[in-house]
């Protein structure tokens, strides 16, 4: 079953030796979804070294430890190399599947037959699950599902843990997947549970260099985090915070700005946000009776007028009121900003102190520093263009957002940027490339945000067809995850939750999943406690899993298919959309490709090609071609035609030529690796040039909430109203509401820089590195707290939840931890014999997490990732 790379044919070997090959080949990393550009040194057919590609903006020649270690995954002798068929019908942990080697034809015949059957019955019975780490597989998976007719697709833990709030809100407020400081010009950056620039996340290696340069230049960096982690260790100031309370800190800082210092950017708020929109006593916009457009108070004219009066053919608006109280359409109303200002007055530093454990004086100082450094009203000239200059940024990601209160946590933090006008201007908080005017020769790819309903911004580019705004209003769910009820969410815990069947019954879901295609994802470990996930998987009659190694999930599969690793794969778009993974700020646009670095090994196949072949066998080639035309935005004459069968390489070739013309085809990109062209200030600092507004007052959230509750409550799904208020507040996680004093610590996991979730745990070099690290495989604990409990560095403990879930690990006592926090890195603790390097290493934090609607955001479905625990000393494992 195990066939290593050394078993390649003697003919291939001799050919390489005869050629005396010694080449550096450009490609793209995929040890995390940062997807930095790489150069691989190939000598006589063997990859001997991987480095960053200095010709590319994506990484700028840098590569992290994970990137250089990819070679160990490529040549790992434990890879799956041939299709495997389960012979033991019984499934479960510790049950031998009785794997039997089969041919690809046997595997595809069986899979296609299953797929044809469920498609004839109800295509929604197909459930596709994929890893978020490999960006290559996104479009083909979407296309296959759209063509097949199922909406039941997810990225398991990747989306449920970090994607829901951060991405949709970044889309609504910045037209981008994520946010980052403008490293080149920012003077004061506050990180709330984010690691941008510290060896993890989007545009990883580029941001590392940019962040380092910014610190050298003098940018003050404040990191708010329970743990003095990789970002905090390099910061000017670490602010330890109680897990899951970031919104309270951000709101208190906003209160200091607005109500204590009187700092806000009035022209920005009036022209680029909905701050002047009039809000009635029902918390909704007051609308013009004739046009139904939201009204603003024109202080110059002394009357209420539509926000877009000029576009409606009326005279231009005068000065718009941000404060005061007025009468319009027969009701008393106030501008949204006035409502926000009053709302913030309740969120003082003294209110936030007992929630966050951060002294009120510190909160006040942070607010003052942020306001002072914002330099509201200032401008700067970049490349001959005068632009607003706001050198402050508040950014957030999973650490702050990964909670039940995900939406308000993220929104409260981003409000700091919008209050001072530091959104997508020089020095401020940037989306990753929300505006692109395209390559000079073809003007492609090109996109610009535009105004949608009520004048609010619609992103010009997005990762999936489901746009952040305008979103669909709640409908009775027909998908496994109930996504129709939660238009502000993406991944749903109901795909693998304890209350899955109960919810489906209550909402009369007319089908159940019968076939699951899993692509490189190990949801048994990446979502939450494995018991719950395994129970949901055992109910699916037929599971196919594309894998590099036999994981805990593939042990439950019926067929395991040998996937190629990223160093064996082809991809025309590893870094597109640019809003996902190209560094923000000035510099170059850069389009890179991924290409195979070695000859095909054993029976491994790239799953993209396999899905195209399955589409043909199922009879949906025309459908998948149309879906790819839409997803890749292919233009004539490079569209995929009718039911013609294309190889994945042909799709990639069409895609590249569609964007960059016939000269820049796949062969050109394979030779050159990247195509670059310079960014313009109007693209990077686009906010003054694009007529769109963003919501500082989320009026539609109330409307969404009212409609969702009307559908959900009669069927026993409680959606608390306080999560749907137009203005953000801090709301507790389930862990904060635990009243049992024995459970006195907050467990959480953090993104390790040595490992990427569960993906890299089998990598021998990274495992060796992690064993040398004091935290990677340990439970990080505040030294003083440990001492009080009589614990010593290296002691073995059980970490237990109120629900009785527990994991065992060794404590590492450190001063770099909040007194109530227990931090665990990544997704370790594997037990399958298919991953012998990873087996038995580290702590499986997710085992402590409940997976149900009570532990998910009632607005965007993000799973709550902090859990109240107690420690008990135990014997060595």
């Amino acid at each position: 079953m195990v066939q290593a790379f050394e078993q390649k044919t003697p003919e291939t070997e001799r050919a390489h030796e005869a050629n005396g090959e010694d080449r550096w080949i450009p490609s793209a990393c995929s040890m995390c979804y940062g997807t930095c550009s790489i150069l691989a040194h190939r000598v006589n057919g063997v990859v001997t070294k991987i480095e960053g590609n200095p010709a590319s903006e994506i990484g700028k020649g840098r590569l992290c430890a994970k990137g250089i270690s990819g070679i160990m995954t490529l040549y790992d002798p434990n890879r799956v190399n041939v299709p495997l068929r389960r012979t033991n019908p019984k499934k479960g942990v510790g049950v031998d599947p009785g794997w039997k080697e089969i041919t690809w034809d046997e595997a595809l015949d069986e899979i296609a037959a299953r797929l044809r059957k469920v498609r004839a019955e109800d295509p929604r019975k197909l459930f596709l699950q994929r890893t978020t780490t490999n960006t290559t597989i996104g479009p083909i998976c979407h296309a296959f599902c759209h063509a097949f007719g199922t909406m039941n697709q997810w990225v398991a833990g990747g989306g449920l843990h970090c994607g829901n709030g951060a991405h949709l809100i970044s889309g609504i407020m910045h037209a981008s997947w994520s946010i980052v400081p403008d490293f080149e010009h920012c003077q004061y950056a506050v990180y709330f549970g984010a690691s941008k620039g510290h060896a993890a996340g989007h545009a990883s290696c580029s941001n590392m260099g940019l962040a380092a340069d910014a610190r050298v230049r003098g940018m003050k960096m404040v990191v708010v985090d329970p743990m003095c982690n990789f970002a905090a260790a390099k910061a000017n100031e670490w602010v330890p915070i109680r897990v899951g309370t970031d919104a309270a800190l951000a709101l208190a800082m906003a209160h200091v700005l607005v109500n204590e210092l009187g700092i806000w950017d009035a022209p920005y708020l009036a022209s680029k946000t909905n701050a002047p929109y009039l809000i009635g006593p029902d918390k909704l916009y007051v609308r013009d009776a004739e046009t139904q457009e939201p009204l603003v108070w024109d202080a110059t004219a002394g009357r209420a007028r539509p926000y877009n009066a000029e576009k409606l053919g009326q005279e231009p608006l005068g000065e718009l009121a941000l404060e005061g109280e007025y009468e319009a359409q027969g009701v008393r109303c106030r501008p949204a900003f006035a409502c926000l200002k009053e709302h913030l007055a309740r969120h003082t530093p003294e209110w936030a102190e007992p929630i966050t454990t951060i002294p009120a004086a510190t909160i006040r100082r942070l607010g003052q520093e942020f306001g002072r450094e914002a330099r509201v009203g200032s401008t700067i000239v970049i490349d001959g263009v005068r632009l607003p200059y706001r050198p402050v940024a508040a950014i957030a990601f999973r650490g702050s957002e990964g909670h039940r209160n995900a939406v308000y946590n993220f929104l409260a933090i981003d409000l700091l940027n919008h209050l001072v006008g530091a959104a997508d201007v020089v020095g401020g908080c940037l989306g990753f490339n929300p505006v692109c005017h395209g390559h000079p020769e073809t003007k492609r790819p090109a996109y610009v945000p535009y105004a949608g309903p009520d004048g609010l911004m619609v992103t010009g580019s997005w990762m999936v067809p489901h746009l952040p705004y305008p979103f669909e209003y709640p409908r009775m769910p027909k998908s496994m995850g109930f996504n129709e009820l939660f238009p502000l969410g993406m991944s749903s815990p109901l795909m693998a939750s304890a209350d899955q069947e109960e919810r489906w019954q209550r909402f009369d879901l007319p089908y159940r999943p019968e076939v699951m295609i899993n692509i490189g994802c190990n949801s048994v470990m990446s979502v939450g406690n494995s018991e719950t996930v395994i129970n949901t998987l055992l109910r699916i009659p037929f599971i196919v899993s594309f894998d590099l190694f036999r994981t805990e999930l593939s042990d439950l599969a019926d067929i395991v298919l040998p996937d190629m690793s990223y160093l064996e794969q082809l991809d025309s778009k590893p870094n597109y959309p640019f809003i996902f993974n190209l560094p923000g700020g000035m510099g170059d646009w850069c389009w890179a490709v991924r290409q195979p670095l070695i000859e095909p090994v054993a029976e491994r196949r790239q799953m993209n090609q396999v899905l195209l072949e399955l589409a043909e066998r199922v009879g949906i080639s025309e459908d998948i071609n149309m879906a790819l035309n839409a997803l890749l935005k292919l233009q004539p004459p490079f569209t995929l035609k009718g039911s013609q069968q294309y190889s994945f390489a042909e799709v990639c070739d069409q895609h590249l030529k569609s964007n960059f013309g016939p000269r820049h085809d796949l062969a050109w990109f394979k030779e050159h690796g990247v195509l670059s062209w310079p960014k313009k200030p109007q693209e990077v600092y686009w906010r003054p040039f694009v007529e769109v507004r963003v919501p500082i007052y989320w009026e539609y959230l109330k409307r969404v909430g009212d409609q969702a509750r009307a559908l959900a409550e009669p069927r026993g799904l409680h959606l608390p109203e306080e999560f749907y208020d137009p203005l953000p507040t801090w709301l507790p996680c389930p862990g904060h509401e635990c009243s049992d004093e024995q459970f006195d610590l907050y467990g959480f996991y953090y993104r390790d820089t040595i490992h990427t979730n569960s993906l890299t745990q089998e990598n021998a070099w990274l495992d060796e590195t992690a064993q040398l690290d004091p935290n990677s495989y340990y439970i990080a604990m505040n030294a003083e707290t440990g001492k009080k409990k009589g614990l010593h560095d290296g002691d073995w403990v059980w970490m237990e939840t109120v629900k009785g879930r527990r994991v065992r690990g060794r404590v590492h006592l450190t001063q770099g931890m909040h007194p109530e926090g227990l931090g665990i890195g990544g997704c370790a603790g594997h037990w399958t014999d298919g991953m012998p390097v990873a087996r038995g290493k580290g702590v499986f934090f997710n085992q402590l997490l409940e997976i149900d609607m009570d532990h998910a955001s009632p607005v965007n479905l993000n799973l709550d990732l902090c859990v109240k625990v107690r420690l008990r000393r135990c014997e060595e494992a």
Binding site: Y33, H146, M151, N164, K443, R444, V448, E472, P636, G642
Partner: protein, 121 residues
Amino acid sequence: MKLFGILGLQMGERSVALQLAEGARLRDLFEVLGEHFGAKFGEAIFRQPGVLQTYVRIFLDDVPVDDLDTPLTASLPPHLDVGTISHDGEGTHAADRASAKPRGEEQARVGLMVMSAVEGG
């Protein structure tokens, strides 16, 4: 007219041949389809009357189009001018179609697909 993916299965027909009046636009086609399939057609693709769900894609001669006012009689030029920048910069729009040469006797091939999906990471 072809209904791709789940739409064809939901409507019970994958292909429909229709004769529309001279100068008909996509909007007119959908009105006729609404009468043909009944209310379930509108529920599947419209967020409100006349406004498509953001995840519905229309294809004219295999090319995605965004604008319901695109005339069905327009045809793609042999090689579309890819320099057009519109709100998303990458779709094909009514203006492009209007300037294209008439298709003559050739039938317009229209496709429709629902592409709702989720993402994360």
